[in-house]
Symmetry: C2
Subunit: 346 residues, 2 copies
């Protein structure tokens, strides 16, 4: 069967499902996790697991050069990959990056991207070991691939959530989305303190590597992924992998104060921004309710970050958001990688 559907109508999740189908025939015994999770995981030796992931950022879709410095673009390109390593419970190791740019691009732009990659690698204990630089009619594209390591008994997949487990998120949500709104609405010119924090979250996300290690190290998490496309997109993915549903409670969602402030200034719904905006790179995980205190203590000790129980896993396959009066409301629509640009000024 030949398929005649434009990507924007097919949607990322169905495309990913199709690629998993195509790739599955080639997967051997050593592949603990193949396509479809945050990173691939391959058994190397007795206890050691190699992690491998890649993520591309494209100008005008994922970044605008008037909204972020070259260094910030490089930082973010790596940070989103490190977040995938964090989501497997791993530690990052080696980084390669391919950059495509038009011939008229100033050398300083590409060097700035490289400096941002190196700064982010250095901050999180990874090493940039190689890359490729190619011409393009444009736009600038930055792809990063990262290897990492995790012990085989600490690896956390997306697929282990069970009814009765609690749904937990690290940190707070919505700051990065608020930063993007601030840029779109011109609030970034003379930013107040909360807007500055939102811009920082959007431009220089901090992958939750210490948090991921602590969650995995407690050995009680049943599933984990990073929140890259927004809770409204990502929790249904975790649930689909686990064959379960979830119920979230609006009032428990930890909305970042920067998100609340920007929402207030722009008459936006702070919770909708926090759940559908994406790019927070917090970690979303599930565990038995009896394990949450132990995990929270481990995360706090490792990173100082809070974790918040935002709901629970239920049988079935629906993910619902329940408001303070117990009424179900929509989770919001997620980011379609092909239909819209994150940076569009709509």
């Amino acid at each position: 069967m030949r398929l005649r559907s434009p990507l924007k109508e097919v949607g990322e999740d169905r495309l990913v499902a199709r690629f998993r189908e195509l790739a599955s025939a080639g997967l051997g015994d050593g592949i603990l996790v193949g396509p479809g999770d945050d990173a691939a995981a391959i058994r190397i030796g007795d206890k050691r697991v190699l992690l491998l992931t890649c993520d591309m950022m494209v100008e005008e879709v994922h970044f605008r050069r008037d909204w972020a410095s070259s260094e910030q673009i490089g930082w973010k390109a790596l940070a989103q990959n490190l977040s995938d390593i964090a989501a497997m419970g791993g530690e990052p190791a080696f980084v390669v990056s391919s950059i495509a740019a038009p011939g008229h691009t100033d050398q300083e732009v590409v060097e700035g991207i490289a400096r941002g990659l190196i700064a982010c690698a250095s901050r999180y204990g990874a090493t940039l070991v190689g890359g490729d630089l190619v011409g393009s009619p444009g736009p600038i594209a930055v792809d990063v691939a990262v290897t990492g390591w995790v012990e085989d008994d600490l690896l956390v997949r997306r697929s282990g959530a069970r009814p009765g487990d609690v749904v937990v998120v690290t940190g707070a949500l919505g700051a990065a989305a608020a930063g993007l709104v601030a840029l779109r609405r011109g609030l970034a010119e003379k930013p107040e303190a909360e807007v500055t924090r939102a811009l920082q979250a959007h431009r220089e996300p901090q992958p939750r590597l210490a948090e991921g290690r602590a969650i995995a190290g407690a050995r009680r998490a049943t599933a984990m992924m990073d929140v890259s496309d927004g809770l409204a997109n990502d929790l249904p993915r975790l649930c689909a992998e686990s064959g379960v549903g979830a119920r979230l409670y609006v009032e428990r969602i930890p909305v970042d104060p920067a998100c609340a402030a920007v929402a207030d200034k722009t008459s936006a719904d702070a919770v909708a921004l926090a759940t559908s905006g994406g790019e927070d790179y917090e970690l979303l995980f599930t565990c038995p309710s009896g394990a949450i205190q132990e995990i929270a203590a481990a995360v706090s000790a490792a990173s100082g970050s809070p974790v918040t129980v935002i709901g629970e896993i239920v049988p079935g396959d629906s993910v619902t958001l329940v408001d303070a009066r117990g009424k179900a409301r929509s989770l919001g629509t997620g980011f379609n990688h092909f239909a819209v640009s994150r940076t569009a000024t709509s």
Copy 2:
């Protein structure tokens, strides 16, 4: 110092040199080979070395969709990376690929690219374990990152060539460049046998993995790299890494019969096409002259491929091509990744 130079004027080699400078501060003891060789090499355990490389292909620069099928685009995107693994003496293992495409792209195009990646991986014992698919205003871009393995005592760098060593190339050169000429000149409509072979070489290059293992396995090669940008570009790089010069003999260069046939039809210089065209993905290596018979036998046994001594390493830093009358001639200008497109119909 802030640099204000467009990439096309700086050139790839100077950019790569600058990136090596930027990245060098972060390189630790375990990094046996960092940026600047065919692949990075990192010591993992006592004897085992992890290889890591990436290469991006961009529509209209590296491929045209009316000149290659989606499957061939995917195949080639991986093949050029496997060639980098071959050039280190390694075996490929795991593959991830990021694809950027406009939302209006037919799903079948992206699936075809994925099938090509998987077919190439399967052919050479590698496994596609993950990827990323993102929107872009265009052009389609395919980045591939590959991990591989090599024993620490078999790893071959670019930097070990010494005066007196012979310069050797596997297979024959120019078929891929001839395929590109055939496409540009409209010879591909009803291709004769030699043109068909040239088109095949251009569209579906065969990385020399068995050859690379045999060369490394003989433990006598002093330097190795793959010929991706043409001998005229690549040999000077090997020489620069080794701090030596080289003298090549025109009549010894193994010009592929398909290249000779296309050159004949288009009144082109077959040797210039073979040395400057690129994308052959043959292996270029050096060894003491006393080792060549042993290496040739090993390569022949492993793959059936010939190897040809095309010149020798000399002191200094100049790379010259000597014709049958002993007269030096230009090696030709190489491919500038930013100034021109490989697929331009000029």
